[in-house]
Amino acid sequence: MLDLMLNGFATILFSPTNLMYLFAGVTLGILMGSIPGLTATMAIALIVPLTYYMEPVQSLIMLMGAFNGGTFGGSISAILIGTPGTPAAAATVADGFKLGLAGKAGKAIKMALMASITGCLFSCIVLILVAEPVARYALKFGPAEYTVLMVFSLTINGSAAGKSIIKGLIGGSLGLLFGMVGLDPIASIPRFTFDQPILSSGIDLVVMLIGSLAFSEVLVQIEAVAKGKVKAHMPPPQSPDDERLSFKEYWTNIRTIVRSAFIGCGIGALPGLGPTLAAYVGYDIAKRNSKHPEEFGQGSLEGVAAAETANNAVCGANLIPLLALGVPGDTVAAIMIGAFMVQGLTPGPMIFREAPEVVAGLYAGLILSNLLLAVLVLAFYRVFTKVSQLETTIIFPAVFMFCTIGVYALNQNVSDLWLMMLFAVLGYIMVKLDYSPATMMIGFILSPLFEVNLRQALIISSNNPSIFFSTPITWFFWVITIYSIFTITRSRRKGKLVV
C-alpha cells in the first residue's frame, strides 16, 4: 500500500497536467463554494461533463479537489456576508459572521482554513486505513447480501436526506423508476423508452445530475433575485493581529478540532447524512464541552473551528462506503460514482484489485488538495473575498450557460438539453415542496445495481425470497437498517436532525 501511495503522489506531483487539474478543481471549488447559492455539489456536477476527456486519476482528483475546496469555500461567504456559501457552512455563520463584524474576518477565515485542512487530512487517513479492509471483507458478498445492502442504503438515504421519511422515500423511488428506463439488464428488452431513441440506452447520469441538482438549484436561487441582493458590510481590521491566526490560537482549539474530526468522519462514513449535519453536530458538541460556551454565537474562534473541521472531515470519510462497497453515502459520492463510470470503472470492493493505481491517485489527490487549498487561500484570499460578493445577476445566467454547454457537450444532442430542462423543473418543484432531489439521484444510481443483484439472487434461489435472510451478513444489514430508521425517526421527533 505504501508503494502504491508513493506512486499515487508521484503520479500527481511529477505530472504538470495532473497537478493542473487538481489546481483547477480546488480553485473552482473555492470559487463556487464562496458564492452564496452555488454549492460544492454543483461545482462537481458541472465538472463531470469535462471529465469525459480526462484520464481516470485526473478526473477524480479534480472532482475531489473541487469538493474539498467547495466545502471550505462556503465558509468565506459565511464569514464575510453572513450567508453560507454552501449548506455545510451554515453552522459557521453564527460565529464567523460575528468575527467578521468585529473586523476579524481574516482571522476567522484562516481558522476555518486550518480547521478544514485538519479535518480533511484526518478523514483521508481514516479512509486509507479503513476502506481496503472493508472492501476485502465485502468480496464475500453475493447478490443477496448486495441487495440487502442496497435496501439499507436506499432506506437510510431516503430517511435521513429528505425533510420527512415519506418524502425521502418518494424521492428514492422516483430515482429507482428513472433508473429503469432503457434496456432491461437481464432480458435486454426496452422499458419505458416510448420509442424515443434518446431513451433506449437509458437516461444519461450527467444529464439528470446537472438538471436535477445544479440547474434546479439555480432556479430556486433566482427567486432571491426578485427579492433583492446581498452586499457585504465588513469593517476593516482594527490591528494587524485581527488578520492573522497564531499557532497558539490554533493549538488552543486542538481538542475541539480533533473531536470534530472524529464526528465528521463518523457521520461521513454513514450513508445519507453528510457535511451539513456533521457541522451542526460538531458545533453543538463543541459548545457543550467548551470552557466558554457563552462565547458560542458571539464570535467564537472555537465555534468556527468545530463546524469547519467537522464538515471537511466528511470529504474523505464519505468515500469509505463508495470505494469499499460501491454504495454512495451522499450526493457527492453519487456524483463520484458517475465519474468512475464515465471512466469505465465500477467503484466497489473489486476496484482495489482492478485499478489500485486509481485509488492511490485519488487518495494522494485528496491529501494534496489540502496543501493546494492552503496555498491558494493564503495567496489569493482577497480575490476569493471579492468573488463571494459577485452579483447574482452575473453568476446565475453564467451557471445556466455552463449547465447547458456541459450537457450538450456529452453527445452533441439537443434532446439531452430538453431532458435536462425536464429534470430541472422536476428538481425545482421537489425543492420547493421539501423533497430532496439528492435522494432521487441516489435512487437512480443504485437502481441498476439493486435490480441486477435482486434478480440474480432470485434466480439462484429459484424465486425463494428467504435468500435475503440466509446469511449473517444479510441479517446484519437488516438489523442496522431497522436500527437506523428507528434512530433517525426518534431524532426527527426531537427535532435534532437538521440536514
Binding site: S173, L177, R191, F192, A226, E391, I405, L417, E451
Partner: protein
C-alpha cells in the same frame, strides 16, 4: 380527492398577481399524495403493460421490479395523504409559497432557455449564447453596460474557445 384539488384551485385563483400560489403543508401533502397515487395506478395498469413486454425469463420478469415499485409508491402516496390529512388542523404549520413575482422570473428564465435550446443549432452557439446570457442578465436586473457587454460577449467566447480548441468538441 376533488375537495382537496378544489381547495388548492381556490388558493391559486385568489393569489394576486396571477402566476403564483400559496398553500399549507397539509394541502400540499394531500395534493401530492393523491397525484402520486394516481401516477402509481397509471404506472401499474397502463405504463408497465404498455412499455414493458411480458417475456418469460429465469427468475423474475422485467416487469417485476417496476410493478413492485408502483405498489410501494402507492403505499407511500397513501401515507403522505394521511400525514397531510392529520396536519390539516395544526396551527403554525409551514406554508409553501410560489409567489407571483418570483415564479414569473423562474418561468421567464425557463422560456428564455427553451428558446435558447430551439435556436442553438439554428443560429449557432455564439450568437444564441450571447443573446440568452444578455437577456437573462438584463432580466435579473443588471443594467450597467460596462458589465453587461463584456460578460455577455466574453464568457461565451471563452467557453466556445475552451470547448472547441482545448476539448476538441464541435459546437454548432
Amino acid at each position: 380527492m376533488l375537495q382537496v384539488y378544489k381547495s388548492m384551485y381556490v388558493k391559486i385563483a385568489h393569489c394576486k398577481g396571477g402566476m403564483g400560489m400559496k398553500f399549507s403543508e397539509a394541502t400540499a401533502e394531500q395534493v401530492t399524495g393523491v397525484s402520486l397515487g394516481v401516477f402509481s395506478l397509471l404506472l401499474y395498469f397502463v405504463l408497465i403493460p404498455w412499455q414493458i413486454a411480458d417475456v418469460k425469463v429465469a427468475g423474475v420478469t422485467p416487469r417485476f421490479l417496476p410493478e413492485a415499485l408502483a405498489i410501494f409508491m402507492l403505499i407511500l402516496s397513501i401515507c403522505l395523504f394521511v400525514n397531510g390529512y392529520g396536519k390539516r388542523t395544526n396551527v403554525g404549520q409551514k406554508y409553501y409559497s410560489f409567489a407571483p413575482k418570483e415564479t414569473a422570473l423562474v418561468v421567464k428564465s425557463l422560456l428564455i432557455l427553451s428558446g435558447y435550446i430551439v435556436l442553438l443549432e439554428v443560429l449557432g452557439y455564439l450568437l444564441t449564447t450571447i443573446a440568452a446570457l444578455g437577456l437573462l442578465m438584463y432580466m435579473y436586473g443588471q443594467r450597467r453596460i460596462k458589465i453587461l457587454i463584456p460578460v455577455t460577449i466574453g464568457l461565451p467566447v471563452v467557453i466556445y474557445l475552451f470547448f472547441t480548441k482545448v476539448l476538441q468538441i464541435v459546437l454548432p
